[in-house]
């Protein structure tokens, strides 16, 4: 389970470092964030939601069925757009409205 940080997009604002419930994200000497122990990530996605630069993506470890897909989220007010990139199919988008409750 883990997240990865895209160095080109990271501005080193440390918003992700601030929220990680496991204190796993740190700022490297180059001023960008990195995941100190990727295997210690719970997969809660708090860092993805905190990043305003879309620099963090989420993936499943192969041991829990990961096959190379990634997930990221773009948040605009109440609307979150989750974007799934899989190796062999076109990207899928799912929109979640913070004002609509779970029906199940």
């Amino acid at each position: 389970m883990s997240v990865r940080i895209e160095k080109d997009r990271c501005v080193g604002c440390a918003a992700c470092v601030e929220v990680c419930p496991g204190n796993l994200l740190k700022i490297a000497p180059d001023g960008r964030a990195f995941v100190k122990r990727p295997e210690d990530c719970w997969g809660c996605a708090s860092c993805l939601k905190a990043c305003r630069f879309g620099a963090i993506f989420y993936f499943l470890g192969a041991d829990v069925g990961g096959r190379g897909a990634t997930m990221r989220v773009e948040i605009d007010g109440e609307i979150s757009q989750w974007i799934f990139n899989t190796p062999d199919s076109p990207p899928k988008r799912i929109v979640v409205d913070a004002q609509s409750a779970n029906k199940y």
Binding site: N23, K36, W42, A45, Y58, L60, V64, G66, V96, A98
Partner: protein, 564 residues
């Protein structure tokens, strides 16, 4: 050896752990006594810490129309096979609905019907959009005029004065070379339960892809045990039935969509075992054990619309599961969802493990209160119950404060020094030592798994195995003492492991003491495979002179037999 900067803080109330219960207490204190100084000390950041980090989909504990608080007690009593404290359940349940309405006022989104009433899920649940529930609580805590939030400080020990009262706590920054020494008139421990004692479902790269928060390491139990607080029901472990691999909750599919458990022979097996939480867990485990696995939740045939709703629901609480469905190209409408039992957790919000407390959430140590998953005797707290317990503890603290003298700050310095000294001694990387925390953590998890009823042992254990577990955990405890840390992050890992080992040792003693099998889904004592009426009681314990002393208490709480 590194010298840590000492930061002294004086407050009226110290809350250790800013999760659900800790936030509940901070909010209640600020509303009732706006001038009272409150410090909420949190190892991560209140905004996204603890169980609620990813969000939740439902409030699992609410008194739905037509039901009563008494019904809730009956439900919990049945589910926990009688080992519950009525006073704790009732005092918590009578607050569920007021707390629910308060959450709505704070901004939590609920599913409502045309007439504006909450939509129930089953007998006790309400459907919500709980993705942001933790940020909502944090916003509310921040409104407290005399509340100080201290993020990124890991508490390690309680400070106990000569009279035996708790007068503060000590911890360290997870980022900077600083020790925090907090003196307080009252301390509330709300650090949640303990994950990571047993080898998890996914022991490799995804070792933290578990159900309970892997960052709740049992610190609150451990600091209480070390300070001599009485603990109850640690042997009532919690094994959750969760979605294979992602270990995501199943309630949304099982309760929400009505999907039933089915084995590989196409049999709906659940009714063979019963409906309690532990019977369900036992059902899946036993179907696998007897060769009829894998077990699944039958979701095939759900509509496309339901499927899209499920994707959104999981994104709001366990996003890994939505990714898994999409990535594997096995959507729930076309493939039943495989389930598995988790490794055992110690979690007083689902089962009964934790501090032995009175109805006011006072522990057996003067000045120390407990709420949420760290508090025992009251299973099935969930979000609303954890908030209720925080609120009850806050009210008791306010009632008790007049009787408490200020601890003089030079006493605090003296009390804290041995602990800070111990941080400094560990912060001294010695290249001749080759042990690392992860290595010893894996050793601990393997011992617990093999000898104290983990997954590989099909949750079974007996006296002879517990002997081995006890002896080997002691060896690991000795090795941990020699661990050294490069930096504060390393130090955090050393302390997390130390706390887990303290909990393991107490847990083994509890497993040994209850010579029966009361909750087969949570663990089978192979040498005593049946329920024994003699054990219709609480198994409690206390550390006295370095030894765990067992105490038996009647269901009313009265002490009956003290052993060893």
């Amino acid at each position: 050896m590194k010298a840590l900067k000492r930061k002294y803080i004086e407050t009226d109330v110290l809350i250790i752990g800013g999760g659900t219960a800790g936030c509940g207490a901070a909010i209640a204190l600020a509303r009732r006594a706006p001038r009272l100084r409150v410090v909420a000390l949190e190892k991560a950041n209140l905004r996204r810490s603890g169980c609620l980090a990813a969000g939740v989909n439902a409030l699992n504990a609410h008194i739905n129309p037509g039901r009563t608080v008494q019904d809730y007690l009956e439900y919990v009593r049945r589910d926990a096979e009688k080992i519950v404290r009525d006073d704790l359940i009732l005092s918590m349940a009578e607050r569920f609905n007021a707390i629910t309405e308060e959450l709505e006022r704070m901004g939590l989104v609920f599913l409502k019907d045309d007439e504006g009433r909450y939509v129930a899920r089953g007998k006790r649940n309400l459907k919500i959009n709980g993705e942001n529930i933790k940020t909502i609580l944090e916003n509310e805590v921040r409104k407290g005029p005399s509340t100080v939030v201290l993020n990124h400080v890991n508490a390690t020990d309680l400070l106990k004065d000569k009279s035996g009262a708790i007068v503060g706590a000590v911890g360290f920054s997870v980022n900077f070379e600083e020790a925090f020494i907090v003196s307080a008139k009252a301390v509330l421990v709300a650090t949640g339960g303990a994950a990571g004692l047993y080898r998890p479902n996914n022991p490799g790269f995804s070792r933290h892809k578990m159900w309970y928060s892997p960052f709740n390491t049992g610190a609150g139990y451990a600091m209480g045990i070390r300070a001599g607080a009485e603990m109850t029901s640690l042997e009532m472990r919690f094994v959750a039935q969760r979605i294979k691999d992602t270990i995501a909750p199943t309630g949304t599919i099982a309760l929400g969509v009505g999907a039933k458990e089915i084995n590989s022979q196409g049999e709906f097996y659940a009714s063979k075992y019963g409906l309690s939480t532990n019977a369900r867990a036992y059902g899946a485990a036993n179907e696998n054990y007897e060769g009829r696995g894998p077990c699944r939740l039958k979701t095939t045939g759900i509509s496309h619309e339901t499927e899209e709703d499920l994707y959104r629901a999981y994104l709001n609480m366990a996003p890994a599961q939505t990714l898994k469905w999409i990535e594997s190209n096995e959507p729930p409408s076309k493939s039943d969802v495989e389930i598995e039992g988790t490794e055992p957790y110690i979690v007083g919000g689902h089962t009964g493990s934790g501090y032995w407390i009175d109805a006011g959430r006072r522990t057996t140590l003067k000045g120390l209160y407990a709420a949420g998953d760290v508090a025992g005797g009251a299973p099935k707290k969930f979000v609303t119950g954890a908030l209720a317990e925080g609120q009850i503890a806050a009210e008791s603290i306010l009632a008790d404060l007049n009787d408490i003298d200020d601890a003089s700050s030079d006493t605090i310095e003296r009390l804290a020094e041995p602990f800070v000294d111990s941080y400094e001694r560990k912060l001294n990387r010695d290249e001749s030592k080759w042990l690392f925390p992860l290595e010893l953590e894996e050793a601990m998890q393997k011992i617990m798994d093999n000898y104290a009823g983990g997954i590989s042992a099909s949750y079974r254990y007996n006296e002879a195995r517990l002997d081995v577990a006890e002896e080997r955990i002691r060896v690991v405890e000795r090795l941990v003492k020699s661990l050294r840390a490069y930096d504060m992050d390393d130090l955090l890992q050393v302390y997390e492991l130390t706390d887990r080992l303290t909990v393991c040792r107490a847990l083994i003693a509890h497993l040994r003491e209850r010579r029966e099998t009361r909750w087969p889904g949570f663990g089978v004592r192979s040498d005593y495979p049946n329920v024994d009426e003699k054990f219709e009681l609480f198994v409690n314990s206390r550390l006295v002179d370095g030894k765990i002393q067992m105490i038996r208490r009647e269901l009313t709480g009265k002490e009956t037999v003290r052993e060893r």
